[in-house]
């Protein structure tokens, strides 16, 4: 077999991944320099599991996704600061990081709340590593968030480059993975499950066949890759050869379905509380539906008890909506109908989920408060989005959701801070 690495030639086309380091922890540390050097963790909603760790916590051996109750006393002994997740803050910080990056690149793809793929501008291609370190420095200065920047000809390789920049302090937070000898050396060191898009699903299969590293994946024969991993797996291997298969997608792709779900702080038994939770999740999903300018053609509701306590009960119902809609009123009605068809008394429900499916584009429909009934609902929902957006919190919501709800997530350790709501700005001490 010819060496596939031979296809690597020039690096005329460079992209980069900018990855925020320990992002949620970095956000919590932004106004808390006293936490520098101290172990810090952020917990998932409901304070269930560890979802972000400072380097100190990683060094202590606490794993991602570790249930908090299991590491709680261990973390306390090490003087760790523990935070409930404050997603509004993380989104606001993320928006700043992305706005900062946008000034330095011709195009970019916001890949997640803490990652963006960047097109490297012409001046950056001459000295990509210097450029990567410059980007890191600017983002750190302006936003206060440390990032790692990895430059490479393909997204899959840029992921590996950014990981290297993060792990090795001597890179100064910027690393370029360019065709040549170092490319093979790095790929040889990377376990196959750490390759972007491979994960646990495929890595077990690959390892059984002796493909245990990124290098072996790159050099596996195309026909076998395509047969067992499909076109996505084949493209991943090509990307490791330096052939770009996944372009930078500037436009945010509308999601195919929208889910909103949560585990409850305390198990929920009665129909009314469960209905409130489902209504709340429907509103969250509806807001996301409108923000991506889509209409939903179907809605499903799932409820379940704990898998660890007592006998398990779970049920799901899907409702096809007569006309595709983005009106909260219609969606809430459909969700209530779906819930009553699956609710059974006598169970301690621990989780509920609302999923909007069969999405289509809302197009440029003119909305009127005086139009058809359905249009009024949509107009009202959009008005609520705008008001709540401007207020920075929920001013307008269905009366059923007023008041303290026992199923609301525990947020015992919430920093309560935001960047844009004047009521929740960080407070600092004065000159004395």
């Amino acid at each position: 077999m010819g060496h596939p690495g031979a296809v690597l030639k020039s690096c005329a086309d460079l992209l980069a991944l900018c990855d925020c380091n320990n992002f949620f922890v970095s956000c919590e540390r932004l106004f808390r320099p006293d936490l520098e050097g101290r172990p810090v963790v952020v917990l998932s909603s409901n304070d269930g599991v560890v979802i972000s760790r400072s380097n100190e916590v990683k060094a202590l051996g606490v794993k991602m996704g570790e249930p908090y109750f299991r590491v709680r006393s261990f973390l306390e002994r090490h003087g760790a600061a523990v935070f409930s997740s404050n997603f509004r803050l993380y989104e606001e910080v993320s928006a700043r990081v992305m706005a900062c990056l946008r000034r330095f690149v011709p195009s970019m793809e916001v890949y997640s709340v803490d990652e963006a793929f960047l097109e490297v501008p012409p001046e950056g291609k001459k000295k990509p590593e210097e450029w990567a370190r410059d980007i890191r420095a600017v983002v750190l200065t302006e936003t206060g968030i440390p990032v790692s920047v990895g430059a490479a000809p393909t997204k899959t390789a840029a992921k590996l480059a950014a990981e290297r920049a993060k792990k090795r302090p001597e890179t100064g937070g910027g690393f370029a993975l360019l065709p040549g000898e170092p490319w093979d050396d790095l790929l040889r060191e990377v376990p196959v499950e750490d390759v972007w898009g491979i994960g646990r699903r495929w890595s077990d299969f690959l390892r059984r066949r002796g493909i245990s590293t990124a290098l072996r994946l790159r050099d596996a024969p195309d026909d076998r890759l395509e047969k067992h991993l499909g076109i996505r797996g084949l493209r991943t291997a090509w990307e490791l050869r330096g052939i770009r298969c996944f372009p930078i997608e500037e436009q945010e792709k509308p999601q195919k379905s929208i889910q909103s779900s949560r585990s409850f702080a305390v198990p929920v038994r009665d129909r009314e509380s469960l209905a409130e939770a489902v209504t709340e999740f429907t509103l969250t999903a509806g807001r996301r539906l409108r923000s991506q300018n889509s209409l939903a053609g179907s809605l499903s509701v799932s409820i379940s008890t704990s898998r660890f306590r007592g006998s398990f009960f779970g049920a799901r119902a899907e409702v096809a909506l007569e006309n595709p809609t983005d009106s909260d009123i219609t969606l809430i009605g459909a969700a209530a109908g779906a819930l009553s068809s699956i609710y059974r008394e006598g169970h301690d429900y621990e989780k509920a989920e609302v999923c909007l499916g069969s999405l289509s584009s809302a197009g440029t429909v003119q909305l009127s408060l005086f139009g058809k009934r359905e249009d009024r609902g949509a107009a009202l929902s959009r008005a609520a989005d705008r008001l709540n957006g401007e207020a920075g919190r929920r001013l307008l919501l269905p009366a059923a959701l007023l008041g303290e709800k026992e199923w609301h997530p525990r947020k015992d350790r919430h920093s309560g801070m935001g960047l844009e709501d004047l009521e929740t700005l960080p407070v600092i001490s004065g000159e004395k």
Partner: protein
Amino acid sequence: MAVHMTRSNEIQGSAAGRLLDMLLPRPSSTFLLRSADAPGSILVVDRAVPPAEGRKAILSTERGLRLATLDSRFDSSRVWGVVTWVIREPS
């Protein structure tokens, strides 16, 4: 009340938009903070402005962020951001 750092097209060019451009010329590096000493006021802090002697600044300390006036011996690595405006009620 929320102050959106990213400007929407709606307010661009309006009085509100121009006021925001004056107070927050660099949204991605500008932060609004409150001072415990003056509860009603808001500090506008720009992390991209180079610190200089005599300027009011926010310092990183082991006990948290502190408001200070920079003297000639300030350590720029301890400067979190430079205060560019103080919004307060007239006394």
